[in-house]
Amino acid sequence: MTLPVQLLWLIPALPLLVAGIGALTRHRGVALAAIFAMAGSFALSCLALAGALQDPSVHATYNFAWFDLGHGALRLGFLLDPLTALMTTMVTFVGTLIFIFSLGYMKEDKNFSRFFCFLSLFAAAMLGLLVANSLLLLFVCWELVGLASYLLIGFWFHKPSAAAAAKKAFITTRIGDLGFLLGLLWLADSTGSLLFYDGGQGVLEATALASLSGQTLACGLALSTAIGLLIFCGAVGKSGQFPLHVWLPDAMEGPTPVSALIHAATMVAAGVFLVARVYPLMSADALLAAVPVHALTVVAFIGAITALMGALIACAQNDIKRILAFSTVSQLGYMMLALGVGSSTAAIFHLLTHAFFKALLFLGAGSVIHAAHHEQDIRQLGGLRTKMKVTFATFAIGMMALSGVPFLFSGFWSKEAILHAAHEWDVSHLPLYAGLCAVVLTAFYMTRLVAETFFGKPRSHGAEHAHENSAVMTAPLVILAVCAVLLGFLGTPYWPWLQKTLDPHYEATHGGLGLMLLSIGLVGAGLGLGWALYGRKLRTTAAARDPLDTAAPAVMAVLADRLGFDELYAATVGRLNSATAAFADFLDRYVIGGLVTFLAQLGIFSGGVNRQVDEANLNGGFDAVSESVRGSGLFYSRKQTGETHGYLRVVAVAFVLLALVLALGGVR
């Protein structure tokens, strides 16, 4: 039994229905309805997946007209191919688990039902984005996803930081969306269609691609490159890529399930999905030799910069959710890197595995935060290993998956796929090196996070009284942990099922064993480094200074009981690491943040100038004309004295004059 493409709309429609119900009632049963709707969508997605897998090379479409544009109908449509089916299955599955988790997490919130209403709205928009066969429908859902994200980040709008973060997220992503919109308009104008696949007429099909890459713009770029890069702007905004990543860490002001669902597993991955979806367009210029830059090259470098920068900054953070947020930025960078170097299958593979283990990590963090009475600072936590056994075990699995611990964990396989793809890229090896550096850093900061949070002694009241959460919260963790392990085996180089499904022409590349060994070594180095700095000598008080932060005591201690050069080396490298991270943080806060502020100020300033012009000049001109009319009226009204004799005299004189004129003028 499979789901025909004509009924694909049912997948987003179910959560949308619940969102509609939730908008009208405040009954707590909305939550259960939302969970059932998500589970129903999951079942439908499985059916759709079963259908898509029968012949992975087919793009089944169902198109229909939305409205008449004046010179032809604007058509939308649904698309069912393995990419869509895999993504919807992942989103609905992770979504269901997160919805269940939220039952426990948001239990005491007084806007409980509204929360599920917004979550359902988000899920509907996200699923709509995935099943779209039209760039326009994708854009529509894209905007709705942004809206839902705005509502959910600002869910606790009574916190000023949350309200500000919501606005920042919306505006920042909207900058990217502007590029997306322009790309969309340009594409519509050049090809006359926005459908991806339309029996040979779609924009991702050979005819349109040939025409797009055949045209060259004044600046030497191919038309397809320009349009592709504009669309990529949208992905940069939504996926938190450099330089528009600033909103993502702030978005952690929202409730933790939101962070898990939206800002880790699904919405931020929408940017990656978008690039993967329009991949034929992005790579249409690949064979052109004479262009200054290929679209995918830009994507690769943006991804590499983001991957490295996110990982560096994550090392210098203390808030458990912010560490994970920067880690998300970094991992999304990896995915973009993979897309850029030409391996969309590796990117989607990493997207899927990342969705599971990052959702797991965020929910684990949520579990910790919930248990520790909303304490999020890792320096204040500690010692939770024994108090929260399930959370610890699952969190550790997530951490190892993210760090890329070899063989057993899914993150390893997907990261390997990306590194191999980067290795084979013939344009430049810089992205590969950035990726390798990020491997070390990822292992390092995750070790630090786990060591600080779960080991040692509780360092605050909240951490001391923490105890394991109810099954409604731990069960999703366990399920996600199982998936975080198993999912990796779908795409190993020895059985590349996933790659073959996504790309029927995929050929498994062998060799590159050296690279695999290198990256295993780097993961080991990162883990060892982290453990050496944070695990061996555990933090005792919340106020104790971070060993990376201040060198002297740490170096002394290391020197004192280790004698080893290796640890001295670790400390200096660590210090450098910390300094670079701090610099990147500085760059982030002041240079890029400053640039955004400057632009905003510029906008406000020119607004002020315009207002002055409006009030002084445009208005002034109007007022002056009115004033002169009024002045002349006043002049004439002074002539009306009210003296009847005066009037009579004027009449008499006028009469005499008239008589004289008639007499002298010789009338008749």
């Binding site: 409205f67 905007e143 505006i171 445009l618």
Partner: protein, 504 residues
């Protein structure tokens, strides 16, 4: 369809009845006004249901009025006018609902109000330039009295400014029409006859006359730099009137441009096209930026109105089927959304808090005091910034697609306007309704509601808000409903000349 002229007659009769009923009691006047507005809207809707989209301008009435001058009382309708008639009915009904609290001289208020509506219906139905002009003037006069008598801040100034701008604009229009009539040897004032007359003018003549007529109408559509009447007028007007002003009266100008100026003088359109498009884009960006720094809540909405009308003018200027269809759709969409925004700001907030200064609203926990108003404003704000799912999105998208075809640069700039709209709308939402979400809010929130008791939202307000929200959602999801009327109408012999830049 043949019932459509009754929208005009019903409104004028209703105006008289409201005046009479107002002498008895305010409640009677309200009931009469509501009944009139609803029945006129009902007539428009009934006609809409029986309407089969065609490229024909359907004549409804055509009798000689002043035969010596060749003036006929000629009413006709097509998909474009039908769209705007339905909008007028909706805006009028909601405007009455949001004017429910007018206690002072209620009868007169509704008499002026309905007279204005009658004039607007008349304009949208006229197929004779002279009749068009007469109804246009009829619509302007009551506006002055509504603002000057029942307005707020600086009302005499606002009212006089609006009236002067309108009359100056209509003087230009009249001059242009007479020029065509006399120089072009048109046998009567029917639009098709005038079009033939205009074709006999010299090229320079056509260009000059187009400038006269288009500018005259564009003043009322709020074209930059003739827009300054709009914010002051909106701010001064009572809520019901500002809803009409933004909702339908600004559309009169745009409709005049589309129905009279452009088809009559396509050569002029071709000549002035770049200038108009440039001014329209300037208006979009300029008004958006000005809205970003306003301190008065209603000024923010007033300038956003100018910005959105810039899209309408841009769509008209681009002069291709999708841009013009989008412009008509945007007229509908803006009428609904701006009406809603003014209703929230003017009626729900201002008449309860008695302030519109954002600095002062910031100190009130409005989202808790007026949760309904907050929700409505957030939704209306989203619609205003072009969120998909609301009518603004298909309208602006259609315009942008068309404009891109005309000039990509203008398309980019106009898209930037969409972004600015998001910025100023979010700012308004945050400062006005969620301003007191600050840290100090927690300290004294429990009794804050007792400190500022505000009267609850009444049923007429809720009904009006629901009607407008439903309209914007419906058109947002199924723009076909209107576009199926609009698009064929653009192919009528009279209208399609605007797409060919002067080729007849």
């Amino acid at each position: 369809m043949n019932l459509l002229p009754y929208t005009i007659y019903l409104s004028f009769v209703g105006a008289l009845l409201a005046l009479v009923a107002g002498m008895k009691s305010a409640a009677a006047a309200r009931a009469v006004a509501l009944l009139t507005a609803v029945s006129a809207w009902g007539v428009a809707l009934y006609a809409a249901f029986g309407f089969t989209p065609s490229s024909e301008l359907l004549t409804l009435v055509n009798v000689p009025w002043i035969p010596q001058l060749g003036i006929n009382y000629h009413l006709a309708a097509d998909g474009i006018s039908l769209t705007l008639l339905v909008l007028t009915g909706l805006a009028a009904t909601c405007g009455v609902l949001f004017s429910w609290n007018i206690e002072e001289r209620t009868g007169e208020f509704f008499a002026f109000y309905l007279a204005l509506i009658g004039g607007v219906y008349g304009v949208f139905l006229s197929a004779d330039a002279f009749v068009f002009f007469v109804f246009y003037e009829i619509a302007i006069v009551p506006k002055y009295f509504l603002i000057a008598n029942w307005g707020s801040t600086n009302r005499q100034y606002g009212a006089m400014k609006l009236a002067l701008y309108s009359f100056a604009g209509s003087a230009l229009v009249l001059a242009g029409l007479l020029w065509i009539y006399s120089t072009g040897y048109a046998s009567n004032f029917g639009l098709d006859q005038l079009a033939q007359g205009a074709a006999t003018l010299s090229h320079t003549g056509q260009i000059t006359v187009f400038a006269l007529i288009f500018t005259g109408f564009a003043v009322l559509a709020g074209m930059f730099p003739f827009h300054t009447w709009a914010p002051t007028g909106h701010v001064a007007a009572p809520t019901g009137a500002s809803m009409l002003l933004a909702g339908v009266v600004m559309k009169l100008g745009a409709y005049g441009c589309l129905r009279v100026a452009m088809p009559l003088l396509p050569a002029g359109l071709e000549f002035w096209q770049p200038v108009i498009a440039g001014l329209a884009v300037a208006g979009i960006l300029y008004a958006g930026l000005v809205a970003l720094v306003q301190d008065d809540f209603k000024f923010v909405i007033g300038y956003s109105s100018v910005s959105h009308m810039g899209f309408v003018l841009l769509g008209l200027a681009a002069a291709n089927p999708s841009a013009v269809a989008g412009a008509v759709l945007q007229m509908f969409s803006h009428g609904v959304i701006a009406g809603l925004l003014f209703a929230v700001v003017g009626r729900m907030v201002y008449e309860r808090t008695h302030t519109r200064q954002l600095d002062e609203l910031k100190k009130l926990p409005l989202h808790r005091l007026l949760p309904f108003a907050a929700v409505v404003f957030v939704i209306a704000g989203l619609a205003s910034m072009g969120m998909p799912g609301f009518s603004g999105f298909p309208a602006e998208l259609t315009i942008l697609v068309g404009v891109w075809n005309y000039s990509a640069t203008l398309g980019v700039l106009a898209a930037l306007g969409v972004f600015i709209a998001a910025a100023f709308t979010l700012r308004a939402i945050q400062v006005s309704f969620f301003g007191q979400a600050g840290a100090d809010a927690a300290a004294h929130t429990p009794d804050a509601a007792h400190d500022h008791p505000l009267s609850p939202i009444t049923w007429p307000e809720k009904t009006g808000a629901f009607l407008l929200l439903a309209a914007t959602l419906l058109i947002g999801l199924k723009p076909d409903l209107l576009l199926n009327w609009i698009v064929p109408s653009l192919q009528s012999p009279l209208m399609k000349v605007i797409f060919h830049g002067g080729a007849r």
